[in-house]
Symmetry: C2
Subunit: 133 residues, 2 copies
Amino acid sequence: MKRSGFKKKGAKGERDLVHLFWEAGWAASRVAGSGSVRLPSPDIIAGNGARKIGIEAKVVGGLRKYFPKKEISELKEYCCRFGAEPWIAIKFDNLGWRFISLEDLEETKEGFVVSIKLAKDKGLLFEEFVQVV
Amino acid sequence: MKRSGFKKKGAKGERDLVHLFWEAGWAASRVAGSGSVRLPSPDIIAGNGARKIGIEAKVVGGLRKYFPKKEISELKEYCCRFGAEPWIAIKFDNLGWRFISLEDLEETKEGFVVSIKLAKDKGLLFEEFVQVV
């Protein structure tokens, strides 16, 4: 698949996830870029009154997904300033969305990685995620 | 000015406002559309840990800005679900941003209006707005 195809798949994945949150009674939005002067921003922001969540959302074709250190530190910074929980939402082929806590990411030399095994073992299903208090 | 010119001016205004929030220690983002199935969404979402805000942000060339009833009711719904305060941020020519509470909007037959006089009389300056508890 071409790079632009991946990008489209990612945007569609984000939109699908936003709709799941609305169906579960939350408000959620995709976040737009901040223009020429880049500021940290998650892919999605969601809230249900009690909880507020900043999400990096990834649709993954292979068996693992790498995250540069900067991506995770910017997610943390954003959520810390905003007052939101930072989460990774990841969708491997033939597997529904899994929500991974930052503490569960595996560290690598240059950042972090989520394998399909980690997603299955430690990730929360969407239905579990929206019920966590 | 052509329609597309207004749109660009609006997007630039939103980006400027997002940067003001970051400089004041908040996190803030422009919100992207939700695709073909339209969901309510504010123009900007911002938070500082204690407060979370959903904002309709408008850069206005004339002396007043009209808001359709639906735009305001969707802002309310979004903020109510999310757990955020709903605000209007409006920037008239030769006037800085003013933050207007929904209760201060003037009602019309088809929605609401903010005149430059109302913005001056009742609107909060950005510096005031980020200090409100």
